[in-house]
């Protein structure tokens, strides 16, 4: 209480005369008058319209091509093979046509449909402490990883958990059929496809040095059940892209929010002709090491080739949403104005 010592003169218990205590703090009290509301609506309508148009033009100029290869072309065979639960290496290829050239940087994604990376138990089934390279955790995976934390012999799995276990493991080779009939392999640059923070902070290998190799560091662990290679052998072309800091692994480990998603696979190297200007139009062929089974969960696999602008990929939602919103606001604004003039009698009904 604000009581001062009692008995200090006649006004000793008088409360302070501060603006705060007397609730007289200076304040701004806005209210919804026609002068403020109507202009805001009109201005917002215009702003949304302009944004919508700008975004629409941007998205219109962003090309994207999706090739569903689940059972297309020769992959049908692999698909059926998988469906019969035969796990043999299967290679297939799919032809597709790119109707117009993709200028500039082009991005290759693999897309999965109906694959739920966002199930709670699935998402929990990983051990970040292990993947940041802590020795202790490497050999003692978290119980969250169960049942993928130890193999049948009780050897710890690295990386443990359902997420890592189910890593996408198809690989692509993309061939461009030039107009002159020659085939050129599209050179894919497959590094730098993960977030900088993931690559450098979130995922780390257990400490190694010149004498202590990565393989030794992972000694005493085993590879995930569904993997064909151990974690330290994921990239046979670049030894620095192995272990937990393998780009593909990192990309996979960043779980998608929704069941249909695409993940970056690689970027064509534009240093090489004829890809200096981007991806030319024409016929292409992808040959696929068809490993990843999608038929159990009725999923689809696709290859997505996309351009990227400042606004990201090709997503028509925001431009259209802005245009629709702009329209709605405009309609509302007109209605409000009418009501204000007709029923509110220009504010006269407030004065009674």
């Amino acid at each position: 209480m604000a009581k001062k010592a009692v008995g200090l003169g006649p006004l000793s218990r008088r409360p302070d005369n501060s603006a705060f205590k007397q609730q007289r703090l200076p304040a701004w009290s806005p209210s919804l008058t026609a002068q403020t509301v109507l202009p805001i609506f009109y201005i917002l309508a215009v702003v949304c319209l302009l944004l919508g148009i700008w975004l629409l033009i941007t998205v219109q100029n962003t090309h994207q091509l999706k090739v569903d290869y689940t059972d297309a072309g020769t992959c049908e065979r692999c698909f059926e093979l998988h469906a019969n639960n035969t796990r043999t290496v299967c290679t297939c290829s799919v032809n597709f046509y790119v109707p117009r050239p993709f200028p500039g940087d082009v991005f290759f994604y693999y897309g999965l449909r109906n694959f739920h990376q966002n199930l709670r138990r699935y998402m929990d089934s990983r051990d970040d402490a292990q993947m940041v390279g802590r020795k202790k955790n490497l050999k003692a995976p978290s119980s969250y990883c169960a049942p993928f934390h130890y193999d049948a012999n009780g050897v710890p799995i690295a990386p443990c958990g359902a997420v890592a276990n189910s890593m996408f493991n198809d690989s692509f080779t993309l061939m461009y059929h030039q107009a002159n009939g020659a085939e050129v392999q599209v050179p894919l640059y497959r590094k730098g496809i993960a977030w900088y923070t993931d690559k450098n902070v979130k995922f780390r290998n257990p400490p190694t040095n010149n004498t202590f190799s990565l393989r030794q560091a992972f000694e005493g662990t085993t590879r995930p059940l569904y993997w064909q290679h151990s974690v330290y052998e994921l990239d046979d072309t670049d030894s620095n892209n192995n272990g937990f800091i393998n780009d593909d692994l990192i990309v996979w480990m960043r779980e998608a929010a929704f069941p249909n998603f695409k993940k970056l696979y690689g970027v064509p190297n534009r240093a090489q002709e004829p890809f200096t200007e981007g991806l030319p139009a024409g016929n292409y062929n992808i040959s696929i090491d068809y490993n990843f089974p999608v038929e159990p969960f009725r999923g689809r696999k696709e290859l997505v080739i996309s351009m990227v602008t400042w606004f990201g990929g090709q997503n028509y939602f925001l431009p259209i949403a802005y245009l629709v919103t702009s329209g709605l606001i405009l309609v509302t604004a007109v209605v409000l104005t009418t009501v204000f003039v007709k029923f509110g009698k220009n504010g006269k009904n407030m004065e009674e």
Binding site: S29, I40, F41, Y109, L119, T197, S306, T332, M350, E351
Partner: protein, 1189 residues
Amino acid sequence: MGSLLSACGINVKKKKVEEERRLRANDREFNLSFKYANNAIKTSKYNVFTFLPLNLFEQFQRLANAYFVFLLILQLIPQISSLSWFTTVVPLLLVLSITLAKDLSDDITRHKNDKQVNNRKVEVLIDGELKTERWMNVQVGDIVKLENNEFVTADLLLLSSSEPLNLIYIETAELDGETNLKVKQALTLTGELCNDIQRLAAFKGEVRCEPPNNRLDKFTGTLVVGGETFALDNERILLRGCTLRNTEWCFGLVLFGGPDTKLMQNSGKSIFKRTSIDHLMNVLVLFIFGFLAFMCTILSIGNAIWEYQEGNSFIVFLPRADGANASLSAFLTFWSYVIILNTVVPISLYVSVEILRLGNSYFIDWDRKMYHVKSDTPAQARTTTLNEELGQIKYIFSDKTGTLTQNIMTFNRCSINGKSYGEVVDFAGQRVEVTEKTEKVDFSWNLLADPKFFFHDHKLVEAVKLGSPEVHAFFRLLALCHTVMPEEKTQGDLFYQAQSPDEGALVTAARNFGFVFRARTPETISVVEMGIETTYELLAVLDFNNVRKRMSVIVRNPEGKLMLYCKGADTIIYERLHPSCSKVMEVTTEHLNEYAGEGLRTLALAYKDLDEDKFAEWRRRHHEASIALEDREEKLDAIYEEIEKDLILIGASAVEDKLQDGVPQTIEQLAKADIKIWVLTGDKQETAENIGYSCNMLREEMTEIFIVAANTAEEVREELVNARKKMSPESGDEPPMEKSRFLGKKSQVVEDEKVDGEYGLVINGHSLAFALQKDMQVELLRTACMCQTVICCRVTPLQKAQVVELVKKHKKAVTLAIGDGANDVSMIKTAHIGVGISGQEGMQAVLSSDFSFAQFRYLQRLLLVHGRWSYLRMCTFLRYFFYKNFTFTFVHFWYAFFCGFSAQTVYDEWYITLYNLVYTALPVLGISLFDQDVNDRWSFQYPQLYAPGQMNQYFSKMAFAKILLHSCYSSLILFFVPWAAMWDTVRDDGKDIADYQSFALLAQTCLLIAVSVQLGLDTYYWTAVNHFFLWGSLSVYFAVTFTMYSNGMYLIFTSSFPFIGTARNSLNQPNVWLTIFLTTILCVLPVVAKRFLFIQFKPTINDKVRHKVKQAKAEPPPPPQRFPRRRISTRRSGYAFSHARGYGDLVTSGRFLRIPVKSRPALFSKNESPVADSTPQTYISIFEETQNP
């Protein structure tokens, strides 16, 4: 709570019901064997050891707290736990500790109060000598010695006193609110003990009496001394709560101590008050639980279907635990979702509600405009949990004496022989408002004048000095015709002990105008007339009673002439006047009307010369009648009637029953706010009616004022029904009950009935007793509630509570009781809100009240400003709080359809933990502590602004349903817009942004910004604090987010902060911000449009006043300076004298006077307290007061 504790056997041990109390004086051993309660009182709830367990026990009885413990247990089951434990533990601990701290401080205050009372000192006779003891150590059977002006320690049997005839005087203001002194008398047998300690110590009387009860006016028991039995009645009993006055000392035997005293028994159980919003919230919380279960059921069914269709094929990637199948998974999912969606049952709501109520209570404590300078008393919110109810009051029950009036009578005006005095006029003959500055009449010529008496009209004193015979006769009458007892401690230092303040005022007036009543014996009255000592022989006192409404004295003046002086109600006197004074009568009537119109209490004064022979004859018959054994009263009345005729009218006096400052204005304001005021007073009907008029409650313009004063139940019912039929002819016999909501349970709520015109109802105590009987209650309620004003007279404390209870039970309305005395305690405790008038002597009312302040007029500020704001703030808070939590939660619901109903959260766990506690806590507190729709001056200007509160407009089930829909809409926007914007897109460098963590960040940022903007929309009053809280919270959100998603946090607490880098990688993307912007406009603009439309179509009173404020751009004009209302009246006040039969008997018997009066302390010594500023006070508008620092 008390009953609950007793049910658990924790601190109330049920004793065997006491049937009779037996005790022996000076025999502790014997008395202790009965285990009677000693004199310690205990109002505190805990002690050091019981505090923690008891308090926690109580807290966990709160549904919400128990629920969160349950959640915590759920979270410890790994299969179910969808959120980490800290999301529940952190808020729960916070809630528990805040409540704990608050309860602790409350109980410490109670302990202090108890301690203060328990440690008062009193002298107790122990082992033959007087020892100073603390109150709490006093035992039943002890003999205690009380001294003048001391509080009575316990309920005592009076043994002996310093005064003659073993009389003592007590003031019972604390008990029943009456400030006039009462007399108690000890038995002669015990009186003889005097103050002889030896004999007192040897006194071995044994008392058998009734067990402890709460009847203040009744006592039965016997005292056995030496084999002889004496009956004991209420006359011998001193009750705790009284104060000894005018008596040097007295001895008493303790009969009841502490909790057994009638005072404590009367205070009743302290009822734990809850506001209607609390009740509504309980209902809503139950509904929310149902709703939660409903959502979880849908989601778990969804999960079952999903698991069956999809999950079975997904087990390749995510094997199930052993033995798990779709149905088990669905079962677990149900509980998982209970955890995730728990935010619909807002735990922090309770904490925030407590905090904002506490804050608003502080504003009441701090309000200088409710601080009374004269008594140095600030307003105080003693209960901090009822604030918003102050904004919903529909009925006010007010005490009269001490609350509406100051209980000070001043002689204000008089009409002498057709000439009116007392009005101050200026040179132009215009009436002038009497203020403190008005020049006062100088009475220094009169050595015996009372310095505290003021008068402003110089004409009267001039008339006295000029020796006008009528004026002299007038004051002579006032000096002679009364039953006042004088006291003169030192020469010229006169004190009058009057049974009613009116009489005191009149005699004091006569004293100042030169007719000083100085002394009386049974046979004579000594008066100093204009400096000359004169002695009148007192021959007879024709005493006052309720039927006669007049009193007369018959005296022989020094010249030997016989005179009869009479004063009384004008109507009564007029009937007995000599025809010759018809002319004076006419003028006097006019004056009387004028006085009555100003609310003054008037008396007509008349005299008569008596014939010696006729008088002798009359005297003989009078004597006969006075010794008659049968029908003595009637016979006396008839005799009196005989002689009191053919009187000559002198004039009339007008006494002002001084109202507290600003009472009429306050009542007018409250009436404008559509608050009904019932006055419940212990006074008699005339007085109460009079006050009703003078404080504007009863008005001449009223269509009719019904007076119910019947003697049988049937008559009372008839009068009530007649009144009702008159007010509303079509009202049926069956009360219109509200349709019951719950099946089977009959509603007891009576609906309001429509009435044209304004009516008033006055009901006397006798009728009220009948009307409060079970079968007539509803009839009374219906009739009374149709009236604008209700005045109940002669009401006992218990009846006061019954009346309040009646309205509480049958009306869906919030009640407030205001009073100052112990007689108001019961009603203060019963009403939803109890207000005590503080700053005066009695503290009982204040101690049991919820709010206290020094003056009735502060009530309008408490209700119209603080109450209204509190209600507004509370409702704004609740609406917003539910909105933000529902919106938050529903997003999870929508996400379930995308994540296989797997109980995955949309947001980061830390965000879930901190959303309510940190990110949105302060802004909403800011609005609910500082918001004002219009400032206090405008609130006064438009009392109609109060109406929405009474009608529960701002927060109701309907409003809740709207919030639900609004949240639903917002959550749809807040989930699906980010979803659609993100699901197939990438960052501007082609990398991932549709990942779970980025989406979570986007969704939570959208949500936070949308609800913050919504809060901005709800804020009427943007102080710097609001800005600081809102922008501060948003900044804190981003700061905390970046911190938690930083490298350092991840490397230290790897498993707790897996969102590393998400903020950096996604908040630099333009499409993220474009999404946030879009969701915000989509959430907010419809609200703006809707509000704008409503303002246009049907603006509320609020909108209109706010519009006016905008237009005026300044403060409202100050309220017009008002003169006291003049009333052209045909109705005059009656003889509003003492409550009971006068002192006439005592005066003539001379019982008082047999032994010369010892030097006694002043009777009304308390008149030197600030209350006694009998200076005519004028109402200073509360706007002007106390502004200057």
